[in-house]
């Protein structure tokens, strides 16, 4: 079983990840590095990977951010964005154990914040700085930003994946459209939060995010 250190060395981990992205010669190896780190952490600790990326986005110089963002370009092109698994939006007690979805860094944060159980959801105060830092990291490479926006829009158009509620997909679309249109990470993440809090979402009341049919 993998457990987080009582006092993880976040900054050291972030620097080590950047070092690897620069030192490895091949894009394939760099993508493999991200995947190996995610595999080593496991799904329960995937947020630790997000925190490391956010730390690089917040405190990395441009070259460090660009090195990681460049790896994300190759990962996006080859469909291997480092991902973590979360329960599908109708997932809950009694549902099939395999009913989870693989989500990339930004989508994971969005699904985490938008999840139906407010007790387990990522608070907006935590979501926005983390999302901004991830977007700032990706934006260090314009191609990474463009490809990531295209992926987010494709996710927003895909109701069958089951990873996000309809409302969350609309919010994701608002984020992606703003971000691809040149909005800052602050503005784009605010669009996501605003879209989630529109009357359409509130109007569903406590059933918002619940499965339409109870699992058998």
């Amino acid at each position: 079983m993998t457990t987080l250190h009582l006092q993880p060395r976040w900054a050291e981990a972030a620097q080590a990840l950047v070092d690897g992205c620069i030192d490895l010669r091949e894009d394939e190896d760099r993508v493999a590095l991200l995947a190996t780190v995610c595999d080593g952490l496991g799904d329960a600790l995937y947020p630790a990977f997000l925190r490391v990326l956010a730390l690089i986005g917040r405190h990395g110089d441009h070259a460090a951010c660009a090195a990681v963002a460049h790896v994300l370009v190759h990962a996006l092109r080859t469909g291997r964005l480092p991902s973590g698994r979360r329960g599908a939006w109708g997932w809950g007690q009694g549902a099939a154990p395999g009913n989870s979805r693989s989500l990339g860094p930004l989508e994971y944060l969005c699904a985490w914040h938008a999840q139906s159980d407010p007790l387990q959801a990522l608070a907006a105060e935590a979501f926005q700085p983390a999302a901004r830092a991830l977007m700032d990291l990706v934006s260090a490479d314009p191609e990474a930003r463009q490809l990531y926006c295209e992926k987010l829009l494709a996710d927003a158009d895909d109701p069958l994946s089951g990873a996000l509620t309809r409302q969350a997909r609309e919010a994701l679309r608002a984020l992606a459209l703003a971000w691809s249109g040149g909005a800052s990470s602050h503005e784009a993440s605010a669009r996501f939060l605003n879209a989630l809090s529109t009357p359409a979402g509130r109007g569903l009341g406590p059933q918002f995010g619940m499965p339409a049919f109870a699992p058998r």
Binding site: H5, W10, G20, D23, P47, D61, Q93, L119, L122, P129
Partner: protein, 74 residues
């Protein structure tokens, strides 16, 4: 500081209400400001010890800063 125990997966049937509140607080704690990060600069000057390593070794360097594997047989 993030405590590992706060992130343990819920037991079968779900945790009791008080534990669920603790989980919620812990969820947001993943992205708490880290005072140690003030003034931090992450650059791209790879030190000598980190050069020429393979994928597995670079990954091990990252993971060793974050987590440990506990052998359940112990």
């Amino acid at each position: 500081m993030i405590r590992t125990s706060a992130f343990a997966p819920p037991a079968l049937g779900g945790p009791p209400p008080r534990a669920r509140h603790a989980e919620a607080a812990a969820s947001s704690a993943w992205f708490d400001d880290d005072p140690a990060a003030a003034g931090l600069r992450i650059g791209c000057d790879v030190d000598t010890a980190s050069r020429g390593l393979g994928v597995a070794e670079h990954a091990r360097r990252v993971l060793s800063c974050l987590c440990q594997h506990d052998d359940p047989r112990r």
